[in-house]
Structures are given as structure tokens and as C-alpha cells.
């Protein structure tokens, strides 16, 4: 098949994973009993590999070519025609390559991390669902189908976080992840439904064209309406990207297995950002929406990186950073820099994957996730340590690594266009992230070994190999950017400022956490502040006291009202009407009475009819 054939068959890319999704279930323990479930994983990795190769081939073929659109019919009711448009372009295929590539890596990592797990069928099936969903989302060119995919992924999150369903915190975590994301999704659905009468289309190109028309004045729209619609459309990404105030789920989702966390932190949160970037022209129609977006994004970026700083749990110290970086993407989109947002998604993904993988190997055989009980691993586990450092270098603005180019470019643009506040947000987030990651590094690899880390060899190859390969990719990110022609022209001051902020964070972290005499993880002198941060500004409690409480109370009241007022009224009426009232008691008088009554009623009704 020629490479062009790969382009025209690009719709297969999500389908490979879906084959694996369905196929893996054959190895469920209830179905395949005499042999084990591992082939489910192998099948999945194989299909992912095929998808990856297909993507790369198609990417080569479509390089410098115009985008192609494939349309698959789905539903038509009158003038509502829904076809799934798949846009095949170098950008969407590039996204597919990142998704399938990281999936492959995470799956092989999963072979190692989950080597003793009997739930491979379910686990890899769900990974397949995610992979298929994310590829479809990358290719999908319609807001409506993006919503559809995001919603299915929400269900996927519920099932994937709930993977270890015997564990009580997993159960609550899955619930909260599902419900929080669902809130975002439903607001998005409201936006999706409300935008259609205005634009008559859900395809991103049409939406952008309409937005342009409105900007140009050739179409009009009620400002309040478009603000509300914009807010609805914003809510979806807010939920997916774990932005304040819908950020809690990411923390709780960390109860799931690490291979899933790799994907979640590196690419799944990016799905929201992807939709956000594509909807950017619509958001620009309403200053309110932009304000909200920037506020949410910067609050999450700064707040998330600060909260990460106070976590004692290794996975959570990283999960909040995922929120923080998605916050930066919100800032980039809100200030009109979609290009930088796309690039940040690209440089962020492998770096974040590394940041999760490296501590994952430590957690695997040193058991604890508690940063207070680890340490002193550098000499014995240098490979994972190096991977972590590479991830860290790749995610903060440290030349010449990947995100440096994007973050500095963003800062430069913001600073030069006089948006100093948002530039400051980027700067602070970067510095605090540098500090936070140095802290994690220091607490795991630096210092002296403690009981839990005294015997801690590097782990086996299914985890080490994908991790080192990802490290290679992360190290080559500048070259990749160069090949893609994405290396921006940077000026001296922005470079100095951003590099300086990173170095300041690192230096502070090293001073606090990399000394032989170990600093306490808890900052006694800041105890109250740390509590506030460690508990995520007490948002979980706030939720429990507000939304959850209100829904519970109202539903209890509704049920009671139903039971005693409505039903009571009915019972009372019938008591009065049927003087005996016997019938409404919980009779145990045998069925004879009942039959007689039936027959009487039946005959009476029929007789009534005939007469």
C-alpha cells in the first residue's frame, strides 16, 4: 500500500485500538479460565504498534500536503445531519502519533508494573478504549463528536479509576472522577446544543468562520447569549483538564494504577486542552469568557503548582502539576496564543510521562508512595533518577530542553504585548514547578536511605525500557521542534528571565532538600499554610459541605415529600373514598379476596363499556 493509502485509511487509526478494546475482554477471568490474561496486553500493544506505524506513515505522506477530510454518516433527522468528519492533517496525525506512541510506552510499562495483576483483560481493554477515543478526538473535526468522545472517555475514566474496585478509596475516587467530569461534560453539552441554532454547524472550521463573521460584523449575536454559551463550552475543558474548581478528580484518580496515571497525566488531561484550543475563535467572541478562562487557568497554574509543593504523596505531587500545566494552556489560549498551546501540549506530554514513570518504578518495589519515608536512592537507582531529571528539565523552562522554547516564547509574547499579569503567572508557575520537582527528586533520590528505601534495586526491563526510550524522546524534543520548524526566535531578556526563574526554583529546592542533612518534609514554620495547600485549599471539604450536601438534602426531602405528602394524600383520599380502607393495608388475607375484587372490577368495567 502506498503511503497515500495510509492517509485515506486514516479512519482506521482509532479502530485498531477499538479492536484491541473488544478483543482484550476475551481474557476476562470469567471467560478464559485455564490460562492467564496476559495475551490481552500483548494484543493491545500490537494493535497500538500498528496504529503508531500507520500514523507515522500517514504523517510522512501528508507532510506539507493540505488536510483531507473523511466523513462518516451517523444520524440524520430532518435538517439535522450528523456526519463524523475526520480531518487528516499533519497536526491531527501528529497528535495521533503522540497518543499512540505514549500508549505503547505506557502499555509496555504496564506489562511490568502490573505483572502480577490478574485484571489485564479489563485494564488493557480500557487502555484500548482510551487510545481509540483520543485518536478519534484528535482526528475529529466536529464539536458535537468531540463532546461524544469526551463523554465516553468520562465513562472510561470511571471504569479505569475503578479498576481495583475492591479498594474503598478507589471506589470513591472513581465516583468523584466520573461525577466531576460529568458536570463539565453536561455544561459542554448545553453549550453544544445552544451553539447550533447560532451557527448551524458543529464543525470547527464552520464555527471559526462564523466567529470570524461575527468579529467582522457580518453576523450578530447577543453578547449575553454568547457569553453563556462560551462558558458552557469552557466547562468541558475545565473538567477534562482538571482545572479549578473541577480539579479534584485528578487527585482521586491517582488511586488507579500507575500506567493509567502516566496516560492520564500526560495525554488524557490534554484532551480537554485540545478541544479548548480548537474552540478558541468562539471564546474570543466574549470578553467575559476570556476573563473567566484566564482566571481559572492562572488560578490553577499557580495554585496547582503550590499545592503540589505541599503534597507528601509522590503521585499527588505530580498530579497537581498536570492541572497547573493545563492551566498554562488555558492562559495561552485565553491570551490568544493557540500555537504555543499546541506546542506546549507536545513538549509537555513525554516530559510528564517520564515524571510519572520514574517514581512509579520506585513505588513498585519500595512499596511506599509517601515522600517522607523514601530517600537516598540516587546511587542505587540512577537510571530512574536520570529519567526523572530529564522529565523535569523537559517540563520547565530550562534550555535547551523541550518546554523551554515554548514557555519562553509564550512569556516573550505576553511580556511584549503588555500582558504582564499573565506573563507573571507563567513565570511563577515555572519557578514553583521547578522547586516542587526538585523537592520530589530530593526526597526520593537525595538524602539518606530510610527503612522503606534501604533495599531498593532498579526494576525489571518492561518498566525500565519504555522509561529510557521516553527519556530519549524527551531529550530529542528540541530536535523534533526544529524539524517541525517550531523553534521560535527568542530574545535575550526572556531567555534570561525564564531560565533564571527555573534555576531559582531548582536552587531553592536543592538548598532545602538536597543536603546530606535531610530537611523535614513538613515546614513547621509554615504549618498552617502547608495544611491549607496539602489539603488542596480544603476544596474537598468545601464540596462536601456545599454541592454534595445540598443534593443529598434535596433528594432526601423530595423522597420524603413523595412518600408522605403525595403518597399520603393519595392514601388518605382512598381511605375516605373506600370507607373500609382495608384494601390499602398490607393485607395478608390471602388472595381470594383479591381475585374477587379483580373480577368484579373487570366485569364492571366491561359492562360499563358495553352499555
Amino acid at each position: 500500500m502506498s503511503l497515500n493509502g495510509l492517509v485515506t485509511t486514516a479512519w482506521l487509526i482509532p479502530l485498531y485500538a477499538l479492536v484491541a478494546w473488544a478483543g482484550a475482554l476475551i481474557w476476562s477471568p470469567g471467560i478464559t479460565r485455564r490460562t492467564g490474561p496476559r495475551p490481552a496486553g500483548y494484543l493491545n500493544a500490537l494493535m497500538t504498534l500498528v496504529a503508531f506505524l500507520h500514523t507515522v506513515g500517514a504523517l510522512v505522506a501528508i507532510w506539507d500536503q493540505p488536510a483531507q477530510v473523511i466523513r462518516l454518516p451517523w444520524l440524520q433527522v430532518g435538517d439535522l445531519v450528523l456526519e463524523l468528519p475526520l480531518q487528516v492533517s499533519s497536526v491531527t496525525l501528529g497528535a495521533c502519533a503522540v497518543v499512540t506512541g505514549l500508549n505503547l510506552v505506557a502499555q509496555i510499562y504496564g506489562f511490568g508494573y502490573m505483572e502480577m495483576d490478574w485484571g489485564w483483560a479489563r485494564f488493557f481493554s480500557l487502555l484500548g478504549l482510551f487510545e481509540g477515543g483520543m485518536c478519534a478526538l484528535a482526528l475529529c473535526d466536529s464539536l458535537f463528536f468531540s463532546y461524544v468522545i469526551l463523554e465516553i472517555l468520562t465513562l472510561g475514566t470511571y471504569l479505569l479509576v475503578g479498576f481495583w474496585f475492591n479498594q474503598s478509596l478507589v471506589v470513591t475516587g472513581a465516583r468523584d472522577a466520573f461525577l466531576t467530569k460529568r458536570i463539565g461534560d453536561l455544561l459542554l453539552l448545553m453549550g453544544v446544543i445552544a451553539i447550533y441554532p447560532l451557527t448551524g454547524s458543529w464543525e470547527f472550521e464552520d464555527l471559526a468562520a462564523w466567529a470570524e463573521a461575527v468579529q467582522a460584523g457580518s453576523a450578530t449575536v447577543d453578547p449575553t447569549l454568547i457569553a453563556l454559551v462560551g462558558l458552557g463550552l469552557l466547562a468541558g475543558p475545565v473538567g477534562k483538564c482538571a482545572q479549578f474548581p473541577l480539579h479534584l478528580w485528578l487527585d482521586e484518580a491517582m488511586e488507579g494504577p500507575i500506567p493509567a496515571s502516566i496516560l492520564r497525566n500526560a495525554v488524557v488531561v490534554g484532551t480537554g486542552a485540545w478541544v479548548l484550543i480548537r474552540l478558541q475563535p468562539l471564546y474570543e467572541l466574549s470578553p467575559t469568557v476570556l476573563k473567566v478562562m484566564l482566571t481559572i487557568g492562572s488560578l490553577t497554574a499557580v495554585g496547582g503548582s503550590l499545592v503540589a509543593l505541599a503534597q507528601i504523596d509522590a503521585k499527588r505531587a505530580l498530579s497537581y502539576l498536570a492541572s497547573a500545566y493545563m492551566g498554562l494552556i488555558f492562559v495561552a489560549v485565553g491570551t490568544g496564543h493557540p500555537q504555543q498551546a499546541y506546542q506546549l501540549l507536545l513538549t509537555y506530554a513525554p516530559a510528564m510521562a517520564l515524571l510519572v514513570m520514574a517514581p512509579g518504578t520506585v513505588i513498585w518495589n519500595s512499596i511506599t508512595q509517601d515522600l517522607r519515608y523514601l530517600g537516598g536512592l540516587w546511587s542505587r537507582r540512577p537510571i530512574s533518577g536520570l529519567c526523572f531529571l530529564t522529565g523535569m528539565a523537559g517540563i520547565i523552562a530550562l534550555p535547551p530542553f523541550g518546554s523551554f522554547w515554548v514557555l519562553t516564547d509564550l512569556w516573550q509574547q505576553l511580556a511584549q504585548s503588555g500582558q504582564g499579569l499573565w506573563a507573571a503567572v507563567v513565570l511563577v508557575t515555572n519557578a514553583v514547578t521547578a522547586l516542587g520537582l526538585t523537592r520530589v527528586f530530593g526526597l526520593i533520590w537525595g538524602g539518606k536511605p530510610q527503612q522503606m528505601s534501604e533495599r531498593s534495586p532498579e526494576v525489571h526491563w518492561p518498566m525500565m525500557l519504555p522509561m529510557t526510550v521516553t527519556m530519549g524522546v524527551a531529550l530529542h524534543m528540541p530536535m523534533i521542534l526544529a524539524v517541525l520548524g517550531l523553534i521560535p526566535a527568542l530574545e535575550g531578556i526572556p531567555v534570561a528571565v525564564m531560565t533564571g526563574s527555573s534555576l531559582t526554583g531548582i536552587a531553592l529546592g536543592a538548598w532545602l532538600y538536597l543536603q546530606p542533612q535531610r530537611r523535614p518534609v513538613d515546614w513547621a514554620f509554615l504549618a498552617d499554610w502547608q495544611d491549607l495547600l496539602a489539603n488542596d485549599f480544603y476544596t474537598p471539604k468545601l464540596y462536601r459541605a456545599s454541592v454534595v450536601f445540598v443534593v443529598r438534602i434535596i433528594s432526601e426531602i423530595t423522597a420524603l415529600f413523595d412518600r408522605y405528602v403525595v403518597d399520603g394524600l393519595v392514601n388518605l383520599t382512598s381511605l375516605v373514598v373506600l370507607a373500609g380502607g382495608q384494601v390499602l393495608k398490607y393485607t395478608t388475607s390471602g388472595q381470594l379476596q383479591a381475585y374477587v375484587l379483580t373480577i368484579v372490577v373487570g366485569v364492571a368495567l366491561l359492562g360499563w363499556l358495553i352499555l
Binding site: 444520524l75 465516553i152 460529568r182 453539552l189 432526601e556
Partner: protein, 511 residues
């Protein structure tokens, strides 16, 4: 052909009442109508739309009762749903059910009568079937239910009797006030009626059918009736019987009174939204999984009402699709909840735990329960989403606020289903009690069939949507025209957009 759908099951039920057969015969008898249904689907003329296989025989002309049948897209779907769920119900029944012949006989009798109601084109004939259904249903609840079944059965009977009174009253009024005096659906003309009278009659019908659906606040018989009856009966009650109500609203409310309907539209939309919310909220507070599923039904009736209220082609299609979707999903949920109760011995959310366990739990049941719950909560890829989305999309422009509230309702639906799934499927089995019997292969079959349909229609919705579309377009055009009249009479002459609402147009625009 249509008569066969009525007569075969009823004759079958007589066979069973006479003591012939048993489970196998019942399965065969329930299966035969499906063959007829396949023929109906194969020969249904989508281009023509409208009523097909029309037949008429004057039964008792003196009172205007005629055996007059006909079938359009909506009837077709309803008859199909009934046929399918009857078979499923028979398959779901415990093999050791007591008095099997009476049980299966009642189910078949009910199935035949319901079919009669769905294809009847004469008001009295409809009423006859509508009432005939009650006898088997009453027996089914009161003989085979849970401990509180007598209470539930009587309550159900009283409610439906009230419904019957309203219905009969409205029908008689239609006969007397109409011109010409006729019970024949095709002949009834109400244009001469004063708007107030029309509204009054429509309200009577809404109450009559609202009790049957049921609509808040006429719903309190439902948790008891659904909760106390055995799973196959609950399935039929929720899946098919409630559709008699929505079907009636379509056939005799919307179709006969487009103008009054347009008048009441706003109220009905809000009514639907409130039903959605209150059903979902009440469900959240339930501690019994069967009652929780029962309450979910109340909320879902609200969507149908909302879609009907907006009366756009899309929302009406959505409402009709929702009738099927709700029937399938509810039947699946009752089947699974029934299996859980049969195996575990409880429906108490505080006791249930860990059923997803692949070796000791009920893994297939749990997996399907998750799927069913999610379908009910409107997750895309499943049929529930198609229906709800069409309703929302169709209603949004006319009734934005009720639509948005209803969307919130789907969020609340997700809340209680997640509660249900978390408590029932997730978690750990209790080492002291969890020695549950296994689920046999045949016990899974009904659930698997329903799941396959739910998924198939979710992925390929056109297979479902295309059947009721012509009717939806016709009805919405009628309402829209009525609306134009209202607007015109109110002195507002702004033209009303009817784009796509032309029944002749939609078929061509499809290609």
C-alpha cells in the same frame, strides 16, 4: 396481519389457562409475534409514512365500536417493543415460577391486549384493550410479587381506574362534541370545538395518560408497583405499560389536539423538566435498587414529555426514540436487578457489595448493570443518548430553560446510577455471606439481547430513528400550523420557520 399480533397471544394465553404447555410453549408463543414483526418491518413503506395495513370491521355500530386497526411508525415501534419485551419477560421468568401456566398466560394476554391498544384506530376499541390489560397485570402483581404486593396491586388498580374514568370521559366527550359523532380516529374532527373545551379535553387526557406513564405527581403507584412485582412483570410494566400512556398522549393528545397542545406547550415543557428533576432527586435518596430503577423511570418520562411539548420534528422523533430506548434500558435494568435479588437475596444498597468479583460475584450482571446505568444516564454510544440528545436539541430553541434543567437531570441520573453501581458492583464481597449461586447461561440471555440492541442503536441510530420520523414530521407540522394560527390570531403575523418540517421534504434531503 395486525390481528394476528392481537389474536395469537390471546389465543395462546387461553391455551395456557386451559393447562396446556408450560414454559416452552410460552416461549414459542411469545416468539411467534416477532416473526410477524419482522414481516411488518420488511414491508413497512417508509416513503408513504402514515397508517398502513388499515382494516376496519364494524363491531357494534350502535355504540360506535368498530374493530378498526392500522399501524404507523410509532405503532410499529411500540408493537415491536412489546413483542420483544414479552419474549424477554418470558425468558427472564424463573423456571420454577409458581403456577406457570397462569403466569405465562397472563403475560401473553397482556401482550396481546397491549398490541391491540397500539394498533387500534377506534377510540372505544383502544379503551377496551386499555382496560383489558389491567386484568392480567393486576393478577401478575398480586400473585407473583414481593411481600407488599397486595398493597401495590390494589394501589395500581385504583390509580388506573381513575385513569380509565378520565379517559372514558374524554372519549365520550369527543364523541358527543365532535362532528360527526364518531369514535373512529380518522373521522374525528374537533375544529368546531371551542379552544377552552379543547384544552379541557386535552387536560383530561393528560391526566388519564399521565397516570399511566406516570407523570409527577400521579406517580406514587409506580415505586410500589414496579418495586413489588417480580422482575418480568416490572419489565413489562415499565417497558411497555408506561408506553401506553406516552403512546396515548401522542395518538389522542398531540395528534387530535394540535392547537390545544401548542397552547399548553410551555406548561408541559416545564412539567417535563420538573418530572425529570423530581424523579432523579427522589431516586438518589432510595436505598433499594429496584425502587431506584423505578424512580429513574419517572425522570425519563419527563424527557418524553419535554420532547412532545416542544413538538419540533427533532424533539418528537427524540421522544418516540426515547420511548423505545427507555423500554429497552428499563427492561435491562429490571432484568439485572431481578437477577441480583434472586442470587444475593437482597436489594438493599447498604448490604450489596462487590458483585463485580469475577469468580464469586455476578460479573456479567455487574458489567451489564454498568452499561445499563450509563445508557440510562445518557452516555453517548448507547441508545439513551440518541434519544435524549434529539429531545434536547429539538426542544432547546423553544424551551431553553426546561431543556437545560433536563440536561441537569441527566447529571443527577448519573449521580444515582453511580451510587447504585458503586455500592452494588464495586467493593469487596463479605466473607461470611458471599456464597451466592452462579448465574446460569440462560439467565444471561435476556440481558445480552437487550444490551446488544442498546449498543447497536447507540452506534447506528438510523436503524431506529428512521421509523417514527414521518409521523414526527406530520405531527410537528400540525402543531406548527396550529401555532401559526394562534400567533396570527394574537395579531402577531411574524412568519414561523418551518424549515425541515415539511413531511414531503425530509426524505429527499436525506440523500
Amino acid at each position: 396481519m395486525l390481528s394476528a399480533l392481537i389474536v395469537l397471544p390471546i389465543l395462546g394465553s387461553l391455551l395456557l389457562f386451559l393447562g396446556l404447555g408450560g414454559r416452552k410453549l410460552a416461549v414459542a408463543l411469545a416468539g411467534i409475534p416477532l416473526v410477524i414483526l419482522l414481516l411488518l418491518f420488511a414491508n413497512f413503506d417508509l416513503q408513504a409514512g402514515g397508517l398502513q395495513w388499515v382494516q376496519r370491521w364494524d363491531w357494534i355500530p350502535s355504540i360506535g365500536l368498530s374493530y378498526s386497526l392500522g399501524l404507523d411508525g410509532l405503532s410499529l415501534l411500540m408493537v415491536a417493543l412489546n413483542g420483544l419485551l414479552t419474549l424477554i419477560a418470558v425468558l427472564t421468568a424463573e423456571p420454577e415460577v409458581k403456577r406457570p401456566n397462569l403466569f405465562y398466560g397472563c403475560i401473553l394476554l397482556m401482550s396481546g391486549s397491549v398490541n391491540g391498544a397500539f394498533v387500534a384506530q377506534n377510540l372505544l376499541l383502544f379503551f377496551l384493550f386499555y382496560e383489558l390489560v389491567l386484568i392480567p397485570i393486576y393478577l401478575l402483581i398480586s400473585i407473583w410479587g414481593s411481600p407488599k404486593r397486595d398493597y401495590a396491586a390494589i394501589k395500581f388498580l385504583i390509580y388506573t381506574a381513575v385513569s380509565a374514568i378520565f379517559l372514558l370521559g374524554a372519549f365520550l366527550a369527543l364523541y358527543w362534541l365532535g362532528d360527526p359523532h364518531s369514535f373512529e380516529l380518522a373521522e374525528i374532527r374537533i375544529a368546531s370545538l371551542r379552544p377552552a373545551a379543547q384544552t379541557l379535553l386535552l387536560l383530561a387526557l393528560i391526566v388519564a395518560f399521565g397516570i399511566k406513564m406516570p407523570l409527577v405527581p400521579f406517580h406514587t403507584w409506580l415505586p410500589d408497583a414496579y418495586g413489588e412485582s417480580s422482575p418480568p412483570v416490572a419489565m413489562l410494566l415499565g417497558g411497555v405499560l408506561s408506553k401506553l400512556g406516552t403512546y396515548g398522549l401522542f395518538r389522542f393528545g398531540l395528534q387530535l389536539f394540535p392547537q390545544a397542545w401548542a397552547d399548553l406547550g410551555g406548561i408541559l415543557a416545564w412539567w417535563g423538566a420538573i418530572a425529570v428533576l423530581s424523579g432523579a432527586l427522589a431516586a438518589i435518596a432510595q436505598k433499594d435498587i429496584k425502587r431506584m430503577v423505578a424512580y429513574s423511570s419517572i425522570g425519563h418520562m419527563g424527557y418524553i414529555l419535554l420532547g412532545m411539548a416542544a413538538a419540533t420534528p427533532i424533539s418528537l422523533t427524540g421522544a418516540m426514540v426515547q420511548m423505545v430506548s427507555h423500554g429497552l434500558i428499563l427492561a435491562l435494568l429490571f432484568d439485572l436487578v431481578g437477577l441480583v435479588e434472586r442470587k444475593v437475596g437482597t436489594r438493599d444498597l447498604n448490604v450489596l457489595n462487590g458483585l463485580l468479583n469475577p469468580l464469586r460475584g455476578l460479573p456479567t450482571v455487574s458489567a451489564l448493570l454498568i452499561l445499563g446505568g450509563m445508557a440510562s444516564a445518557g452516555i453517548p454510544g448507547l441508545v439513551g443518548f440518541v434519544a435524549e440528545f434529539l429531545i434536547f436539541q429539538g426542544s432547546y430553541q423553544d424551551f431553553p430553560l426546561p431543556t437545560l434543567i433536563s440536561i441537569c437531570g441527566t447529571g443527577l441520573t448519573a449521580v444515582y446510577f453511580v451510587i447504585l453501581l458503586n455500592r452494588t458492583c464495586f467493593g469487596r464481597l463479605d466473607n461470611r455471606t458471599a456464597y451466592y449461586p452462579r448465574v446460569h447461561g440462560w439467565e444471561r440471555i435476556p440481558g445480552l439481547i437487550l444490551t446488544a440492541l442498546i449498543v447497536w442503536f447507540g452506534i447506528q441510530p438510523m436503524n431506529l430513528v428512521k421509523w417514527p420520523q414521518p409521523l414526527a414530521f406530520t405531527l410537528s407540522t400540525q402543531v406548527a400550523q396550529a401555532q401559526t394560527l394562534i400567533l396570527a390570531s394574537a395579531g402577531n403575523l411574524a412568519p414561523v420557520t418551518l424549515s425541515g418540517a415539511d413531511p414531503g421534504n425530509w426524505e429527499t434531503s436525506r440523500n
